[in-house]
């Protein structure tokens, strides 16, 4: 396993950082949470952040924490789908396609919510899950998996996730389209 400083990775994949923070901000605004500060990208750790008030509303907590995961994953699939065929299946040397693949993977790599975001959900979810809150029920295993994957970043789990989504997503889409 080779080591590349996080700042270099963040620089190479900066669109993903920006999308991640923009998604946080979007959901904060959607749920009318106070936002104290926003950094869309910087050379530091973390590469971006949104400081917002804590909410007692679990739905708001869920979407603010998981929003970037969903948004980055979807955009990764969209851009990788635009590039998947020429890059992987058709093996056409098209620079535009490679650009889209870089964009898609960069976005997909930054899908994981931070450990802080997940810890809020992890603490609040069990009590609500017992009361039958669907989001809390979903967020329990999801947070668990994402916490593990977050630790897996040292072994490139984030890149692995980006590649997985950027390859399997388009394959699934095209398989369905081919049947239409």
């Amino acid at each position: 396993m080779f080591f590349i400083p996080g700042q270099v990775i963040a620089l190479l994949t900066f669109p993903g950082v920006i999308i991640h923070e923009a998604a946080h901000l979007f959901f904060c605004k959607l749920f009318r949470l106070k936002v104290y500060n926003v950094c869309f990208f910087r050379f530091g750790n973390p590469a971006g952040y949104v400081i917002h008030e804590n909410s007692e509303n679990f739905t708001a907590q869920f979407f603010v924490s998981m929003g970037p995961f969903v948004a980055n994953t979807l955009l990764c699939v969209v851009f990788c789908t635009a590039a998947f065929l020429p890059v992987w299946e058709l093996q056409v040397n098209d620079p535009v396609a490679y650009f889209f693949y870089w964009l898609g993977l960069s976005i997909g790599m930054h899908a994981f919510p931070s450990k802080t975001d997940l810890s809020h959900l992890w603490k609040a979810a069990p009590a609500l899950a017992k009361k039958g809150n669907l989001l809390a029920i979903i967020s329990l295993p999801l947070s668990g998996i994402l916490v593990v994957l977050n630790y897996g970043r040292v072994i490139w789990a984030d890149l692995g996730y980006g590649i997985l989504v950027g390859v399997l997503g388009p394959i699934a889409i095209f398989r369905v389209l081919a049947r239409v």
């Binding site: 635009a82 065929l85 299946e89 056409v92």
Partner: protein, 356 residues
């Protein structure tokens, strides 16, 4: 405003070093003792960092003790409180989002040909899985127009073509892929196509050999054996059953088994009603007439030859072959003598003629 006094020891200290407990300010050493006292007397003992509410928590602007807006544990100045309540999206982010959408539209337009090619690729793959090879070839040809160097596309097209007996398309698909080079030649997909291609080529060589043998009298049985071998080796070759029958008819001819000759020719004429099968049936019926003298066979032989000519209209090469065969067939009907083409050539045509 930067200096505060400890509620216990009255020591002056910087506000950044101060703590707050039950609305009182303490220095570091006193706050623990104060917390213990609060706990003992049943009060809350939560220690927090002291926040100087006379300055804005965001921009450090002095707002005094009553200015600004209180938001939870902090106080903000007017502009900052507006910002915090409804943080705006930066202009550059909005422009980037617009650029993103433009990029997405561009990606869709630019990638349209790839979408079509990819769709054909997956459709072709699915048709291969269903065993519909000929239909798959049509789709995969479309893919190769856009991406001739696609490993998957070329191998699937070659596979589908080979399994439908279309060697020309298979060859074009493989040759079109970087001159027939495949980097990952250890992949099962490649090995499968390589095996099919080798079998098809061996079959073609054997067919050529059989055709050469068939040109000479006395080799009909050996030629038929070879063609039966071809049918086992590469059964996907189009009209293989008719081809096998065609050589078996040759064997029946040399064995003077004209009933079998007629039966095979009749079968092939029904399977594939073209000039070649019509003339083969005409030949078989002429043989039967020659040995039986039954004019019904003669009449039908002549009818089949006329049918063959009718089917060959516009095809000069086939018409020329039928003219040549018609002359021999007439001789067979008139003389009731059954001789091979080579024998006929030797007796009645130029001595240099080598084909029949």
């Amino acid at each position: 405003m930067d200096q505060v006094a400890c509620a216990d020891c009255s020591r002056k200290l910087s506000s950044s070093e101060a703590y707050e407990l039950n609305r009182k300010i303490y220095c570091g050493p006193c706050v623990q003792a104060a917390a213990q006292r609060a706990k003992d007397s049943g009060q809350l003992a939560t220690i927090t960092r002291y926040v100087d509410k006379s300055i804005c928590a965001r921009c450090n602007t002095y707002i005094g003790d009553s200015g600004g807006v209180e938001m939870g544990p902090v106080r903000l100045c007017g502009p900052c409180s507006t910002l915090v309540e409804d943080w705006p999206y930066p202009q550059w982010l909005k422009l980037s989002l617009a650029a993103f959408l433009v990029l997405l539209v561009f990606a869709l337009i630019h990638g349209r040909k790839y979408f079509e090619a990819g769709k054909s690729l997956y459709r072709g793959e699915q048709l291969i899985e269903k065993g519909q090879y000929q239909q798959a070839v049509a789709y995969l040809k479309e893919t190769l127009k856009v991406a001739p160097n696609s490993d998957k596309g070329a191998l699937l097209a070659a596979k589908a073509a080979l399994l439908s007996g279309d060697l020309l398309t298979a060859s074009q698909a493989l040759e079109g892929h970087e001159g027939g080079k495949f980097e990952k030649s250890d992949k099962p997909e490649f090995r499968e196509v390589d095996d099919l291609w080798s079998r098809a080529n061996r079959a073609m060589e054997q067919l050529e050999q059989a055709a050469k043998l068939d040109e000479q009298d006395g080799n009909e049985i050996e030629a038929a054996k070879l063609v039966h071998g071809v049918a086992a080796l590469y059964p996907q070759l189009p009209h293989m059953d008719v081809l096998v029958d065609r050589y078996d008819e040759g064997v029946a001819f040399v064995k003077k088994d004209y009933d079998t000759f007629i039966s095979l020719a009749e079968k092939d004429w029904h399977i594939m009603p073209v000039a070649a099968t019509a003339s083969a049936l005409a030949s078989a019926l002429a043989c039967k007439y020659a040995v039986t003298g039954d004019t019904a066979y003669r009449q039908r032989s002549e009818e089949m030859l006329a049918k063959a000519r009718e089917l060959a209209q516009g095809d000069k090469e086939t018409l020329a072959r039928l003219d040549e065969f018609g002359e021999r067939n007439r001789y067979r009907l008139e003389s009731r003598q059954i001789i091979t083409k080579n024998e006929y050539d030797r007796r009645f045509r130029s001595a240099n003629s080598a084909t029949h």
